[in-house]
């Protein structure tokens, strides 16, 4: 069932709240990653409020879908979305990266057991999601109802281990696995196509026997269709290559790789994010990505 206009408006409002929380966390922490969390906010909002089978009050519910965040550095969006979904109080978000906090600089499930995995070192999340999908199949056969969702950064695909996992998932035809690649075109040292070209990225995944979709990562209707398709495909693993604008929502940050790995700290930067995110009711209409036609 397609999303109604009303539902989309609701998601846009939630996404704005989550972006504001991300910015507040980063300003308070004074360190952390800004671009990725802001560009994945819409997809995280969609996943946690629409697609995911989960129970925030019972995080260890055994029939839940699994979410593996491989690019752990974008954890502010994970933490903020989980808090806004009811996993823990929104007020706890401001402890990000502080001594004794459950919200470690990169996710650690020893501190926050409701996380499915710890992550940070790039390239190993997909393997874990593949392991989960295989284990599920051993237990339940191909019709297992749990979906394994794994988030990857595009720069992260430089890591060879991903391709080991992509190869295995293709061979195993893991229909219960959906990967989202954050195709924001940036990594720490620059633009991905300058550092280590990934294109033609969809063709690479197809060559490994994956079901491939490309989607505007800021268009809820398109996101909804892509996740629906991914769930419907049962004979192959699915990848959704989500074209996103790094730093989405703060015009001064958008598209700049310099915002990959730092937090807003100067009064001018803080003023820029406040102006962008607190003077609007939603980012609806402002966040159509130029890649929408893709």
């Amino acid at each position: 069932m397609a999303l109604t206009d009303e539902k989309i408006k609701d998601l846009e409002g939630k996404a704005l709240d989550i972006r504001r929380s991300i910015i507040e966390m980063l300003i308070e922490a004074k360190t952390g990653h800004t671009a990725g969390p802001l560009d994945m906010t819409d997809i995280f909002t969609y996943l946690y409020f629409i697609a995911l089978k989960h129970d925030p009050k019972k995080p260890d519910w055994q029939y839940r879908d699994r979410v593996v965040l491989s690019n752990g550095h974008i954890c502010p969006v994970l933490y903020a979305t989980m808090a806004h979904s009811g996993y823990f109080p929104v007020s706890e978000l401001k402890t990000l990266r502080k001594f004794g906090s459950r919200l470690q600089g990169h996710p650690h499930r020893e501190w926050l057991p409701m996380l499915e995995t710890s992550s940070g070192p790039l390239g190993s999340g997909l393997s874990q999601a593949v392991g989960m999908a295989i284990a599920e199949r051993i237990d339940t056969g191909r019709t297992g109802s749990k979906q394994m969702y794994c988030f990857l950064g595009d720069g992260e695909l430089d890591e060879g281990q991903n391709w080991e996992a992509i190869m295995l998932a293709g061979r195993e035809r893991l229909g219960n696995l959906t990967v989202v690649v954050d195709r924001n075109n940036i990594q720490i040292d620059g633009f991905t196509e300058d550092i280590m070209p990934l294109n033609p990225l969809p063709d690479k995944w197809r060559a490994f026997n994956w079901h491939v979709q490309e989607v505007d990562g800021h268009n809820f209707r398109a996101i909804d269709e892509a996740f629906g398709q991914a769930r419907a495909v049962s004979d192959r693993p699915s990848v959704i290559i989500a074209y996103t604008i790094p730093g989405k929502g703060v015009p001064e940050f958008e598209g700049k790789f310099e915002w990959h790995g730092k937090a807003p700290t100067t009064p001018e930067e803080i003023e820029q994010v406040k102006r962008a995110l607190w003077n609007v009711r939603t980012l609806g209409g402002k966040i159509q990505s130029e890649n929408e036609s893709a």
Partner: protein, 338 residues
């Protein structure tokens, strides 16, 4: 004399003592662990026969995953399976797992606190002809520094089988070190085995040969070289030297009490292992004794070198881990005793 309470192989000193590759015990143990618990799964990186996972694969094809030559994926896929309640055993050569995939083991297995069991076959210099690239001499060092990781180095195939069955029942991420070559059988099915417990294998017992003597040197050994350590102790007993041999199967957590009590009793220690001297059993023993009971220690192992091709015996002798070297280390440490 051989410690009777350990119920060791009565034929241990026979010329035709039975010899079995340690890895074979792992294969039999894994099969048994798989029978005992349906949660046990096996993953292998294209070395199913030589790591002896084939027994498990044949019996439980649906619980076996062929990973191809991809050790990093091997470690992390196992972590994901453990997250869903499985007890994964992963195998490759020790050089590649835990060698190549160390960070994946650290982060996705140990940091994540997943009960993955890492079996590294072909460990040590006795891999032989394959040469230095394939001789893992650093694996104990790199695994024992990882928090939560249990490190087990069996002395023969029977002990390897027991260790494999035992570690399938713990929640701990565990590394099991396996040698390729045929190794003399020291223990029996009746020999007690507990993870974390050292075993006294040999103690001076023949009063006619060592009258009124308390033990002069303690040898602490692990893996396939435990056999040589026992033989040296027996030969020294004939010469009137009183030596004890402690088998350390579990290098981490180390049975510290057994180690420092032996040091306290003997006042001098020799460590014996088929591994770099730095960071291995010798390092673990030295860390323990520096803190609890400082005594002179001599280290038998590889002295900061890479291996090369050769027969196992040639290499053991060339790199200083033969019986003559163990004996020389005992004599040297005796001279250093105050």
């Amino acid at each position: 004399m051989i410690n009777p309470s350990q119920k060791l192989n009565p034929k241990i000193f026979d010329a035709d003592v039975e010899q079995v590759p340690i890895r074979k015990g792992f294969g039999e143990g894994l099969l048994q662990a798989g029978i005992n618990d349906t949660r046990v799964v096996g993953l292998c990186a294209d070395l199913t026969d030589s790591t002896q996972m084939n027994l498990f694969k044949q019996r439980f094809p649906d619980r076996f995953i062929e990973m191809g030559v991809a050790e990093q994926n091997l470690a992390s896929v196992a972590s994901g399976m453990a997250a869903m309640g499985k007890i994964p055993f992963i195998t490759s050569y020790a050089m590649f797992s835990p060698g190549r995939n160390w960070e994946q083991i650290r982060t996705t297995i140990a940091y994540n606190d997943r009960p993955v069991k890492i079996a590294g076959s072909h460990a040590g210099i006795s891999v032989g002809q394959d040469g230095g690239t394939h001789q893992a001499l650093e694996d104990i060092a790199i695994t024992r520094v990882i928090p939560r990781m249990v490190v087990i180095s069996p002395c023969d195939a029977i002990e390897a089988k027991k260790a494999t069955i035992a570690c399938a029942m713990t929640k701990d991420p565990t590394y099991i070190r396996l040698a390729r070559e045929k190794t003399p059988i020291i223990t029996t099915d009746a020999t007690p085995f507990v993870i974390g417990k050292a075993q006294l294998m040999f103690s001076p017992g023949d009063a006619s040969k060592t009258p009124d003597k308390k033990t002069e040197v303690g040898i602490i050994a692990t893996g396939a070289l435990v056999f040589k350590a026992i033989k040296v102790a027996q030969a020294l007993e004939q010469l009137g030297k009183a030596v004890k041999v402690l088998n350390i199967t579990t290098i981490k957590p180390l049975d510290e009490e057994a180690v420092w009590k032996l040091a306290q009793e003997c006042g001098a220690i020799v460590t014996v292992e088929e591994h770099q001297i730095a960071g291995g059993l010798g390092g673990a023993v030295a860390e323990c004794l520096a803190q609890h009971c400082p005594v002179p220690i001599e280290f038998v192992g590889v002295a900061d070198k890479f291996g090369q091709s050769g027969t196992p015996n040639e290499l053991i002798e060339h790199y200083g881990m033969g019986e003559s070297h163990i004996k020389a280390a005992v004599m040297k440490v005796l001279l250093r005793k105050k």
